[in-house]
Symmetry: C2
Subunit: 366 residues, 2 copies
């Protein structure tokens, strides 16, 4: 399918929703839409894709109430906007869509949170991706450095082949917001694994130390909680090139959630976990055990950190021996640490000692 | 000068500081260092460079007090660290330097704020750039799209020529953290102006709409408060290619500070304003007048916004007719707006109407 075909297919599915609302009204039925409950308690493991997805709990948006009726009105306006935008070969940021609703009188969104949620609801209802609807986030592309060739179809429709070491500056290749096959093809690689890295400082350290070349690794900067395009990009390399994925983050509960969103699927995007999550991705560190074993500099856990760790103990995605023992250890230690704390032992310690030791533990030759 | 020569020159200047401290101790004098006061009240207009720099107020760090003595100890440790790092052809993030101080016993920094400030103090004392000392921030490179060729010296010492339209994906070229001549050369361009843009969403809008090609403009994403490398990059294009610079931001006091840091110099980096600021840069909008003239969607000013606007009225950099009348207008309206609010009139309004009108007002052919 070309990008245009994907977009037309998304419009077709959206028009079905509009059609159902029309038919309901035409037959004097009160229109309503059913959406899965989007909460931590309503995610379940999907055996087929090995990722976490929404379970069976549903919530209904019905025109029987005024807020429900407004929500349906906004849905129809949004479908109309997306349809026209796609006809004009355009795309829009989520923030632009929010401002465009200024012209929808009673259908105007009250906040961008509302319009973002509606975009996700439309994905759930149509089983199409937001990217196919021409909607994109504000997020900047994360960066990639490693022996990997990609082929982008540029805004002018030209094919452009880029090698993520030889054709880029030291800042690496920036992942575009749409990384579906129609936009981006994963071409040749001789790399042996992918290392996804939370912070820019650590990404730059591994680049400066030449870890991508020395260990034949594709380095991907996660930039904190990773954008959808970053997660999709990682998953595609994993599947299409059969490369293992290692996640290297700070040692705190927020970083474990970053790992969870890469490996298991995020709660907000559980309806498309099979597109975004890489079930075989492994967490390398910084683990609470690393903090002890490597005697890393630490900060005290804040009350928010402690609540987040406790919440992870009741999160089904973290129900395994490794996470339970590590999280309990951290709650006992009351300490957290950061990737860059490894600099305590010098700038090369992470590439000469820590990463080789940890990768060997996981069975990777280094 | 090559990068190595610049770095050795920086070390030489730093060794002079260490030498002075040694001589003081050797001659039974109490060692001290004098640094300009780094406050809004101590910046003054430098007629020669047409930028704002530190004035004559000084503060003294003297070993006569315990905090002053610790500060001098940390200074000497830091100089030693930088010297060794440069001998090994390495660089370090500011965060890594903070963690490395873990090994300095009594010389350990108490927070990263302390170590960042010391790096700036060393710039002031040595009249060299932090980049020459191999110190870099965490910030990601901002993105560039336009008819401009740059030549980077990569980490392996190879020359790499990159055209910021033809050799990059739709995310553009990422500016590296060091953009000094030894690392990056500004080569050919046929562009007529540079447009520096605050938000990623608006940068992507101008890219999608082909504004760089249609108007022959180099688009630079400021990413909020711009990194030093982004400001330096803009200044170098302005000077070396003699291109005008237009700044396009949201319409709130924080955005005016972004413009000030591009055009006048930032308070934190006033000691190197002549490297970073582009005095001829012009502010395009969103102005408070635009909010009225274009009837843009608005949000109410918060108390923090109001304080920031009032603080700008007493900031010498904003002492001119334009800023005073616009800031007073905004305080009267009590409203602010965003670049992307222009989407109220459709996705093309900014490139078809707003930018051409505003550029024509400023005397640019469009």
């Amino acid at each position: 399918m070309t990008m245009e075909e994907r977009r037309r297919a998304a419009v077709k599915e959206m028009m079905k929703i509009a059609g159902e609302i029309y038919d309901d009204l035409d037959n004097s039925r009160i229109p309503e839409l059913e959406i899965p409950s989007r909460t931590k308690s309503n995610i379940a493991f999907d055996e087929r894709h090995r990722v976490w997805k929404y379970g069976r709990n549903k919530s209904t948006r019905s025109a029987v109430s005024l807020p429900g009726a407004y929500m349906l009105l906004r849905t129809v306006y949004t479908i109309d906007f997306i349809k026209k935008m796609i006809e004009q070969h355009k795309s829009s940021t989520l923030r632009e869509m929010y401002y465009i609703s200024e012209g929808w009188s009673e259908g105007k969104f009250s906040s961008q949170g509302d319009s973002d949620r509606l975009a996700e609801d439309l994905e759930i209802l149509t089983k199409k991706l937001r990217e196919d609807m021409g909607l994109r986030p504000e997020e900047d592309g994360a960066r990639v450095m490693g022996d990997l060739s990609v082929e982008e179809i540029t805004r002018k429709g030209e094919k452009r082949r880029i090698h993520c070491q030889d054709d880029v500056g030291d800042s690496g290749y920036s992942i575009p917001y749409n990384v579906e096959r129609e936009k981006l093809k994963i071409r040749d690689t001789n790399a042996k694994l992918v290392i996804a890295i939370e912070t820019g400082g650590m990404f730059d350290r591994l680049v400066e130390n030449g870890f991508d070349e020395e260990k034949n690794a594709i380095l991907v900067h996660l930039k904190g909680q990773p954008a959808r395009s970053t997660r999709r990009f990682i998953k595609r390399i994993n599947e299409e090139k059969n490369l293992p994925v290692i996640v290297f983050t700070d040692g705190d509960p927020w970083s474990y959630r970053i790992f969870a969103s890469v490996a298991y699927g995020a709660i907000k995007t559980a309806h498309i976990s099979e597109y975004l999550a890489t079930p075989s991705a492994e967490f390398l560190g910084i683990t609470p055990s690393d903090i002890l074993n490597y005697e890393l500099p630490t900060d005290d856990l804040t009350n928010e950190d402690i609540s987040a760790l406790k919440s992870e103990l009741s999160d089904p995605r973290f129900h395994d021996e490794f996470w339970e023992s590590e999280i309990k250890l951290q709650l006992k230690m009351k300490k957290k640490s950061e990737q860059q704390a490894l600099a305590k032992y010098g700038l090369d310690y992470v590439t000469d000692t820590y990463l080789p030791e940890k990768l060997a533990e996981k069975g990777y030759e280094t």
